[in-house]
């Protein structure tokens, strides 16, 4: 078995204590994924596992053996930015940049959840097939990603624009 990270297969660590986050940052040199609390309270370590957003700090690396992990480094292949990355720049969706990779990975995972109809706690009609993506929907769904610099408005602007563009296509 192996853990596939951004398309490359890696052996799981010998020490079962190693979190997916520390595997990325300390053993594979993929430090784009950030550690902000190491206890599931900030979202800075968000990565995609088989397309779903999860917290890599509370995931033991051995738990994702056999699965595919996408990190921030896996989004911009050949130097071309993902449209959401570009939108974050345009809308100034960050200041210090530390929570940014987690925000971006989280938003990509969130968009996939919306596409398959996952509701949120602010969704009025739980029976609806497709949630209406109001700003409050976006805010609620992104609330697991803290930004202490307070770039929340820009982040939501960037996600809204990217999602709207995608919906129009």
């Amino acid at each position: 078995m192996a853990i596939t990270i951004n398309g490359t297969a890696y052996s799981p660590p010998q020490d079962a204590r190693v979190s997916l986050l520390d595997l990325l940052r300390e053993r594979l040199g993929l430090s784009g994924t950030k550690k902000g609390c190491d206890q599931g309270a900030c979202g800075a370590c968000t990565v995609l596992v088989d397309g779903e957003r999860i917290l890599s700090c509370l995931t033991l690396a051995v738990q994702v053996d056999g699965r595919a992990v996408t990190t921030i480094e896996g989004l911009s292949e050949d130097g071309a930015l993902h449209p959401l990355q570009q939108a974050f720049i345009v809308h100034d969706g960050f200041q210090c940049g530390y929570c940014t990779p987690g925000q971006i990975c989280s938003a990509i995972g969130m968009a996939a959840e919306v596409r398959r109809g996952v509701p949120s706690v602010v969704t009025a009609d739980l029976g609806a097939d497709a949630p209406v993506l109001s700003d409050d929907e976006l805010r609620e769904r992104m609330s697991g990603n803290l930004c202490r610099c307070g770039a929340y408005n820009g982040i939501i602007d960037a996600i809204r624009e990217t999602y709207a563009t995608e919906a129009a296509e």
Binding site: D22, E26, E73, I89, D92
Partner: protein, 779 residues
């Protein structure tokens, strides 16, 4: 005065720093003072300054490719984990590290017994370059000064091994009596607080008598709790001894201070300490020198290998101080016309005996309003706790909560619009120092803000607007923060023959957009394109002692670049010589345009930098400019202001408060980059929403231990707490500051607590004088 005497007097003024010369600086002619002649960039309206430029480091940050302190690999590096004390006061009786030392992968366990000898940490204020949060010894003896003090460091091959080994260390203590509650500390006795060496005490007239005689009076006590900065990047450093040089990859808002302070502790020169910090994952006042960098360097020295230390989130709460609590009395006496006869703003803040930072909550009251009399004082009570420190807008953030709530209470009592009462008390000069304002257009900010926010829709009677279970209210408050510029600014400017300029200065990027804004500024100053300017920073080997704090970094960099630019132009004119169209011109007659110099009022007299350097057969010229002393601070009253408008909804069922709208209208001088400035203002406001509604560091009064050292239990605002925040500004340049700008990093948080509390009052009729405004206070 003869010319000589005039020159002597001017030199005396410019050389003065303190004492009787303060008066001389105040009355000296403007032209003798930095900023006395307005920065030519202020009138330069069609350049890069003032344009919304996306961050030049944006592509790095969105790819996760901007390297932070814990992300620099080093050969042979070991990982550090820290063990913290569980008592507030006393001494370590026994500490047994044998099991930890024997644990797999462990390279070293360091305690006070084997730590290298070091001088105590130099606390802020003890030296111009001191960067320490407290002036205590670091792991030098068995004494315990606070609950959570580091008592052991484990180094191991992996973080997992180091973390585990700390759990194998057995410690016993001899517990000593401690004072861990604010109430008990006040009972022990309070002392007058000192701020930057001066007493935090001002009396003008007999304020208590004027208060007693006033027809309208508010006299209330306001409380604000401990706060923790909580930047998302954990405090971290990667440290190595390379020969006799100490190399530190730090997360720092003070690289030059850091180099000096670490050198001081380890007994080596500041030039033997190389601190770099290209990106800082948020600071807000917390990314200075605390014990973790010292422990990493000490342990690295013992083990002879590089060390990476990244504090756990709990570790940050145990090791890095936050904002202290305050208990403030604000009493205002006024006539029926709303004009203040007296302002009393006094109270107590908790601090420790190992640092010198009483939360200076009277600072806003010293400048914002005029009054017939003043009585302002901060006293301190000593608590055995982790040293407190500055956190975003120290003084103003919590001082404006008390002051601006009291004004709202007074306006309500008199029956006057809260904006009107503020207008009526706008001072025509600095109410305490008597100095003229460098620029003050708060009235315009209020007018624009009120219009944009729809203030006229506010109902004066509290509790009169309801939608379903939600009561709706509007509140307003004034925010304020001073213009600062600290001594020590310096920058190197290098111009190459291909017309490329490089600035080097030991400044910082914590999210403010430093490199972006100063690339814009430098490009305009030199008449270059943005891609012809490189702004380098974040390295203690670069010139300048530039604290990213006090919202002063922009001014410090600006003044340093002005100084360097003056030298560069002088040298360019010399090199240009008599064969140049610029021949005979003086430095202050020329400016930059299109990759060269021109006569300011005759732009066709021009020669390109490339041409000047080629003719002089020079590949480059490089100058080191040192910023003028910040005398402007003693010559003008220099303050930014904000009119903060808030609308809240308060549930009649649960007492939950939701901020539905917020608008900040700022008068902060010229805005260099609207896009990044918008983010700075919003970020401050959002931290202010946390201060108003959710944030509190819980110090258990029995043990002195912080009981919510996590991001789950300390509630910073999340996406869902934050509506779209509107920000507007007057954009009126301050004629006496570099670029006409004043720093904007901190003003956003000021006034927000009061704007929210005042809106809650307008919604519910309930006056909450104790932060945070949690729902239980509104049930």
């Amino acid at each position: 005065m003869s010319d000589n005497k005039l020159a002597d007097a001017k030199a005396a003024v410019q050389g003065a720093v303190q004492g009787v010369m303060m008066k001389a600086i105040a009355v000296a002619p403007d032209s003798w003072i930095p900023g006395g002649v307005p920065d030519p960039l202020i009138v330069h309206q069609h350049g890069h300054v003032g344009r919304s430029l996306s961050r030049i480091d944006g592509p790095l940050k969105v790819r996760g490719a901007a390297p932070f302190a814990a992300e620099f690999p080093m050969d042979g590096m070991v990982y550090a984990a820290v063990l913290f004390s569980t008592i507030a006061r006393g001494r370590i009786a026994t500490i047994d590290a044998q099991a930890a030392e024997a644990a797999e992968g462990v390279a070293l366990v360091m305690t006070y017994k084997n730590a290298p000898r070091m001088k105590p940490m130099p606390g802020f204020g003890s030296n111009a370059k001191a960067a320490g949060g407290a002036s205590l010894p670091v792991m030098q003896d068995p004494e315990i000064h606070w609950n959570g003090q580091p008592i052991a460091v484990v180094l191991a091959e992996t973080q997992e091994q180091a973390d585990h080994a700390t759990s194998l260390i057995d410690v016993t203590y001899e517990v000593a009596p401690s004072v861990t509650s604010f109430a008990e500390a006040k009972g022990v006795g309070v002392e007058p607080g000192l701020f930057m060496g001066s007493p935090l005490k001002i009396e003008i007239g007999d304020a208590e008598a004027a208060l007693a005689a006033a027809p309208h009076r508010i006299d209330a006590v306001y409380e604000t709790p401990y706060h923790t900065h909580n930047p998302i990047e954990l405090h971290a450093a990667t440290v190595a001894w390379q020969g006799d040089t100490l190399r530190i990859h730090d997360a720092s808002q003070a690289v030059a201070h850091m180099a000096w302070s670490m050198g001081h502790m380890f007994g080596i020169g500041e030039d033997q300490v190389h601190v770099t910090s290209p990106f800082v994952g948020g600071g807000f006042g917390s990314k200075t020198l605390w014990q973790h960098q010292v422990l990493a360097a000490a342990a690295a020295k013992l083990v002879g290998r590089p060390v990476r230390i990244m504090l756990s989130r709990e570790g940050v709460y145990r090791v890095v101080g936050g904002r202290s609590l305050t208990e403030q009395r604000v009493a205002i006496g006024a006539g029926a016309d709303g004009v203040f006869a007296a302002i009393v703003h006094t109270g107590i803040s908790a601090t420790t005996r190992s640092n010198a930072f009483p939360e200076p909550f009277i600072l806003p009251t010293m400048s914002v309003y005029g009054a017939g009399s003043f009585k302002l004082e901060v006293d301190i009570a000593y608590v055995d706790m982790l040293a407190n420190t500055f956190m975003r807008a120290p003084g103003e953030a919590v001082g404006t909560f008390a002051l601006e709530c009291a004004i709202d209470e007074l306006a309500h009592q008199i029956g006057m619009d809260p904006i009107e009462i503020r207008h009526r008390n706008e001072p025509d000069k600095d109410p305490v120092k008597g100095l003229p304002h460098s620029q003050l257009d708060i009235a315009k900010a209020y007018a624009q803000g009120a219009e944009a926010f729809g203030w006229n829709k506010r109902k004066a009677v509290p509790g009169s607007r309801r939608e379903g279970e939600w009561l709706i209210g509007m509140g307003v408050a004034t925010g304020t923060y001073p213009y600062h510029r600290m001594p020590g600014g310096a920058a190197r400017m290098t111009l190459t023959r291909d017309g490329h300029a490089t600035i080097e200065i030991a400044a910082h990027e914590m999210g403010m957009g430093t490199a972006t804004a100063h690339t814009q500024v430098t490009a305009d100053r030199l008449g270059l394109g943005l891609d012809q300017v490189t702004f380098r920073y974040g390295d203690s080997l670069m010139p300048g002692v530039v604290l990213a704090g006090g919202s002063q970094q922009t001014a410090s960099i600006g003044a340093s670049i002005i100084a360097a630019h003056a030298l560069l132009v002088t040298e360019l004119l010399q090199l240009a010589g008599n064969d140049s169209p610029l021949a005979g011109l003086k430095p202050d007659e020329v400016g930059g345009r299109d990759g060269g110099l021109c006569k300011l009022d005759e732009p066709e007299r021009f020669e390109s930098y490339a041409s000047i350097l080629s003719r002089a057969q020079r590949n480059e010229i490089s100058v080191l400019g040192e910023a003028a002393k910040p005398l402007e601070l003693q010559h003008w009253s220099m303050h930014s202001h904000g009119a903060m408008f808030c609308e809240v909804k308060v549930s009649t069922v649960t007492g939950e408060t939701r901020v539905s709208r917020f608008l900040g209208s700022f008068d902060c001088g010229r805005i260099l980059n609207p896009k990044t400035a918008m983010s700075q203002f919003r970020g401050g406001i959002i931290m202010g929403l946390g201060l108003a509604l959710t944030e509190e560091t819980l110090l258990d009064t029995r043990s002195g231990r912080i009981m919510n050292p996590s991001l789950s239990d300390y509630h910073v605002p999340v996406h869902m707490d934050v509506p779209e925040i509107d920000v507007i500004w007057t954009d009126i340049p301050d004629p006496h500051t570099p670029m006409g700008a004043r720093g904007i990093g901190e003003i956003g948080i000021t006034g927000v607590g009061a704007a929210v509390a005042n809106a809650v009052f307008n919604a519910t009729g309930k006056r909450i004088r104790s932060l945070p405004i949690t729902l239980d206070k509104l049930l």
